[in-house]
Symmetry: C2
Subunit: 497 residues, 2 copies
């Protein structure tokens, strides 16, 4: 519990409005000071973006949104606040003056944070009567989504203030990072700035364009930076031999003319020892193999996430998969399968994202696998992108799943498909899902598939080439035994209730 109900904000630009959105989404009422007559509209637009993002990000119940009220004086926002955050323009004199006014208007127990990305807290708190409650709390854009907030105290900041600020930032879903020393640009902006300066040189010297430089980041090192920083990434690159080996191998590169005219620290014994010790501490008990798998799992998760957006590295993965599916479909069509038993067209492995907290495959993942099995059948009977593009497809109208056994992450699975009946518009089918290593039956799904004109959302007959395949398989499958659970109803004996 932070005891914070109302959040006061000074400045309603991109950063201030981002704070307003984060606070309101976390149920805090917001009083925000901005003199722009358009402030309400601009803050409202950021709020729309933020709510959209949260509704996509989480299914967790967000609860009621806090209110947002725009006021025109520093004092009004400061007096209402249980926590105060300043996001005014990056001008030292202006900030010092307005923070002084806010300090006089706010209750003395209220923490005052500043969003400055580089000004020093000792200077910013110089005009305050209660400088001990002042911290820098430097966020990143968009504030409502980015977890990082760098906390840096000035000479007069109390330890308690830094701790209470961290508690508040954490309570609104952020990840505080305590900056040990007061330094221009703190940590993240120094790193960003170093990269940015090099990027400007590359454009200046016509080595690469803005778009090419961005591609070099987002298809490459940026994918790893989403979850591991440079030190851990390099530790892994060093392999079993560890960080000292890596530094020995790659250290000399620091003397090469990569990057434009940037001084490098002397990699003497003392610095090397420090880096090795810090890297060992960071890695804890994880072996290089553990770290490699963690890196790969995270990379896979990031790539899968971006695949859903079909953007950046996600488009590369999507294009790769489309190629695989096409190759597979043409291989199957050419194979002239003999259809005697149920079809065996789909295999899968229990994905990490499919398992629940018990490590078992979760309910909806079964339907995912059965849906993929139906898709494999559709490809097999000749439904391709062109067929779908012509406005025709099969839709599932009814599914009956029986869960027989549990299955754990990583297990290879395969599914079989039997067509129980079919006509020109319908396929009545029965899938069975097996654990491949011992053919243990895990679940069954009986489905009714309806052939539809997708534009008009009405049933219509399948085209001849598809229908021929369906009826040919149905005719063969008619001789197979009917699965035990086909046609089942859910019911409880009347002794129940």
């Amino acid at each position: 519990m932070t005891g914070v109900k109302t959040v006061g904000l000074l400045g309603g630009g991109v950063i201030g409005a981002g704070w307003a959105a984060r606070a309101a989404i976390n149920g805090h009422d917001v009083v925000i000071c901005d003199l722009d007559p358009e402030a309400e509209r601009k803050i409202g637009e950021v709020m729309v973006n933020a709510r959209r993002a949260y509704s996509r990000m989480t299914l967790a119940p967000l609860g009621e949104l806090g209110s947002i009220r725009v006021v025109r004086t520093i004092e009004e926002a400061a007096a209402a606040a249980d926590f105060l955050q300043e996001s005014l323009p990056e001008q030292e004199e202006l900030k010092i003056a307005l923070l002084g006014r806010a300090d006089r208007a706010a209750r003395p127990d209220v923490i005052i944070g500043s969003s400055t990305s580089g000004l020093l807290p000792t200077k910013l708190q110089s005009g305050m009567t209660h400088p001990e409650r002042f911290v820098v709390g430097h966020p990143f854009n968009p504030v409502y989504l980015m977890p990082l907030v760098e906390i840096c105290g000035g000479a007069k900041t109390s330890a308690d203030a830094k701790e209470r600020a961290a508690t508040f930032y954490r309570s609104v879903g952020m990840r505080p990072l305590l900056v040990r020393k007061e330094i221009d640009g703190f940590i993240a902006d120094r790193l960003m700035e170093a990269l940015w300066r090099e990027a400007l040189w590359l454009v200046h010297d016509d080595v690469a364009t803005a778009a090419e430089i961005d591609d070099a980041i987002r298809f490459g090192p940026g994918l790893r930076w989403a979850f591991m920083g440079t030190f851990l990434i390099y530790r892994i690159a060093g392999g079993e031999a560890g960080m000292r080996h890596f530094m020995a191998q790659f250290g000399p590169a620091l003397k090469w003319p990569w990057t434009k005219l940037m001084d490098v620290p002397d990699l003497d014994g003392a610095l090397l020892d420090k880096i090795v010790a810090q890297s060992d501490f960071q890695a804890g008990n994880s072996s290089i193999r553990d770290l490699e798998r963690l890196r790969d799992d995270c990379l896979v998760s990031v790539l899968q996430g971006l695949r859903g957006r079909d953007f950046a590295a996600g488009s590369v993965l999507r294009a790769f998969e489309e190629k695989l599916y096409e190759r597979d479909a043409s291989a199957m069509v050419n194979a002239d399968h003999k259809v005697s038993g149920p079809l065996r067209l789909h295999t899968a492995k229990v994905e990490p994202r499919w398992v629940d907290y018990n490590g078992h495959m979760t309910e909806s993942a079964y339907l995912q696998v059965f849906g993929d099995t139906s898709d494999a059948l559709f490809r097999y009977i000749g439904i391709d992108a062109a067929y779908r593009a012509s406005g025709l497809n099969y839709y599932t109208v009814e599914t009956h799943i029986m869960h027989l056994r549990e299955v754990r992450e990583g297990e290879p699975l395969h599914a079989t498909t039997q067509i129980l009946a079919a006509d020109e518009k319908r396929i009545h089918l029965f899938h069975e899902l097996y654990r491949t290593r011992d053919e243990m039956k895990l679940a069954t799904a009986e489905q009714m598939q309806l052939h539809v004109n997708t534009a008009e959302s009405r049933a219509c007959p399948a085209r001849a080439n598809v229908l021929d395949q369906v009826m040919r398989i149905a005719e063969k499958h008619r001789r197979l035994p009917r699965p035990e659970n086909a046609g089942r109803q859910i019911s409880m004996p009347t002794t129940g209730t």
Copy 2:
């Protein structure tokens, strides 16, 4: 079609083994030259990691794995290759000599790529008889997952060679980036190196530890770099006023003492014009609003991906959600709901990752929502983390779904739940899913939930506190009309087939 069947590799270290894995997964046979007696084992270990990653990354049919054969001479690998990639130690003299030998042994039409991260292609091709087919193809670790490969030609490299190399790299799922000018470190490594040098200074000066610097990246700017580079991120930060405004506002910061002693280019009119023009070109017709949403969507996808791993920013999101669920559960328990009609315990919105290529909610997402609805019921009747930790829970054993209408991305949904019957071990329930804006019924799910001892995987009675709630609701719901589709069987009229 690249015409490449066998890939020859020189060097089987981390990078060479990564190439072997990528090539084999894409169906190519690999002949790899390495003198280490442990080479087979080491390459095999990388292959295990790569297969694990791919099995988690994609459900697409990967097809048959290519073979991997280790040989002991450059000539043997080069002679067998339809495409040759060198990943030897970063020593210029060594590379020149061995590339010369490879060049004499390989067919003259075979492209030879080098994985060097910084040596210049003009030098590396200097000992070749056919230097025109030589390119740098600089990959990133792990090679089997990272999309980026920087292609850079030397003075004697032909345009055709660069194009054929790009085609091959693309065919194995990579994203080539053509580097216009021969320059030490190409593009990505120059940017990484600039950041790394700054990081070393921060450690040297005791501003931050390795772990803190890594946190500053992965909870902050690194999350954005996974899909957008610095130029586009800054363009968005500039808002409607565009890149020129951003540069005017933040340009002066380049003169501040952020980063250690790094020269910056003069931001004169010519450089400013160039950056603005390139940024405009990069953004194309996208408005700042479009770009903001794209940025937010990608951030959300990355955060969701990492949530699945409960690592880095994913842990922040997971902790945030757990807090929301806890708050919500305690609010519900305190509300002393009146149970008269079916329960209304769950709401959701059609997530972007739930929709298929037609923009409709996909089959398995319906079961996801119905599963979440059951979970909401379980929380409501008093099943919490402690109850589950004691080895008790309800499992779904049977589900019958009826799909009635389609629904599109972004639509708010709500579900109702009616208990049709219950006893000490079972709940027979009926969910209905509605589009909230007009209460249109979208789907129904009838389910049988079995109370189990999870350790022993056998049915057992629910505890009294839970059972009381279940029976109380069942008693009230007994008076409600029975849903039309309850107890349904899937069948086709006998005219079918």
